[in-house]
Symmetry: C2
């Protein structure tokens, strides 16, 4: 049982952890800190948090578990502020989409207390934000990846894993570098690729003509281009090293398609499209009813 | 009322036209030709077509309307075969996703009869295929683009437009070159971009690791990578000129992102992501509930 949980950043992600742990009877008190007072008031109204802290320092005072659930770009400053105020027995985790940069920020901010920090990444969310959107079952059956540090004891990792499993999540562990490489490929790059297409078309004088004729393929391909610009700017910069490597591989693939089109290389295109189509169907053979209106 | 409609290629697209016109009471008899005998038998069983023709030539004999609904790569040979066998009053349309190449094939195959051909592109479909998948309401409320030729009389265009509106579709007209440019951007490029990402990951030794961690953003971004490789090879090659231009613009955008990541250009990324996000939300402000599990 967590006695006092501090949620720093009471949005969908942090708020849902609070609600899930409350529903599971695994937390006595939740204190929240955030920049948006109206959002915090709403969080209290909805019973997401029990108390609003005036600062991160005040939030972690007396807390045995601390969750950083703000944009990754804001974590470095928070680690610096909370480091000196953490209780001796406090354990800290986060919900950032990138891990190596968060770990570097934690090392810089927490100093000798780094052993209490177990980095995490819950693979869950909906494109809504704020405490208003928090759901007690957001993590039910979802994956949470932990990237434990050499400094963490097994008991520390187990305690943070227990926090997430109490929310209904399945916890897996991997190295931070591996995490960042995987998510650069399957998440960060697709976001950039979707932003790039929409910005390209939106910037044309005839943008309206293009959008008017866009169908369900375009709709799904670009869905994630509706995501938060600030969040994805932070993620892209935080994970720029792995992301540039993925962008280079992708640019190389697309250039090869360009060459194949120029050369009329039907076989080359067919082979690549076939490998992709088969892999895509293997990945999600069912539950994927596809409208294809092009 | 169409007395005899010849459907060349009795799949989802062609079969749905037959069913829609029958439901509307706008056709007396439908004859079908296709390569797959079992599919044609199924089309007869389902009442999609009334008669199986042994050849394209036989199918168009006596037909006052002819629909080419096969892959665009197969149309050139079909125009050559049916040209000499078209009835004097016959009118022809097609359902190809590219238009300039189909028009070139029609000019080559139909020769002096080119005036009877009104090119079309129904923006409808589901990722199912075959006569089995044909639906009488597939075109209900969907757009069909016609790209009439200089040789078409207004009466000819009106008659083909009537065929599609009888299916429940809304018909608009544009120039073929404009059609191909628009669909290169909003449909053909996204398909190549999705194929490219999936093939890139599928070819890696650790492919399974990447796919295991892919979430809903990846799912939607790559949905169209499950499409028919042969169909998209044909479309890509048929529209290669416009598609290469779009690929170049896209490569340039992605390269700019790469440069911005390398330079830590937070403002540049933020501006582009914001333009994209706002344009995407304007395009589809509602009805787009978004899971974003990254």
């Amino acid at each position: 049982m967590i006695r006092r949980l501090a949620i720093l950043g009471v949005g969908l992600i942090g708020g849902s952890v609070a609600l899930a742990l409350k529903r599971a009877g695994q937390v006595q008190q939740v204190v929240g800190f955030g920049r948006d007072r109206a959002n915090l008031d709403r969080a209290v109204d909805r019973g997401v948090i029990d108390e609003i802290a005036p600062s991160p320092e005040a939030a972690v005072a007396g807390a045995d578990r601390v969750l950083l659930a703000m944009p990754v770009g804001a974590m470095a400053g928070t680690f610096v502020r909370i480091g000196p105020h953490l209780e001796p027995h406090a354990l800290v985790t986060d919900a950032g989409s990138t891990k190596q940069d968060v770990i570097a920020a934690a090392r810089a901010g927490l100093g000798p207390r780094i052993d209490c920090f177990v980095p995490g990444h819950p693979i869950a969310g909906v494109e809504k934000s704020g405490a208003e959107a928090a759901l007690s079952d957001l993590y039910e059956g979802r994956n949470v990846i932990l990237t434990p540090l050499a400094e963490n004891t097994p008991a520390t990792v187990a305690a943070i894993a227990a926090l997430w499993t109490s929310c209904g999540a399945q916890v897996t562990e991997m190295k931070a570098v591996e995490h960042d490489r995987i998510f650069a490929a399957v998440s960060h790059l697709p976001h950039l690729a979707a932003f790039a297409l929409v910005d390209e078309l939106a910037g044309r004088p005839e943008a309206e003509l293009f959008f008017r004729h866009a169908g369900s393929g375009f709709r799904d391909f670009t869905r994630i281009a509706g995501s938060s610009p600030a969040m994805w700017r932070d993620i892209a910069l935080a994970n720029h090293q792995a992301l540039v490597a993925e962008l280079d591989a992708y640019l190389s693939r697309l250039s090869a398609y360009r060459d194949a089109l120029g050369a009329g290389d039907a076989d080359g295109l067919m082979q690549s499209f076939t490998r992709a189509s088969e892999a895509r169907k293997r990945w999600q053979p069912n539950g994927n009813h596809i409208e294809n209106d092009e």
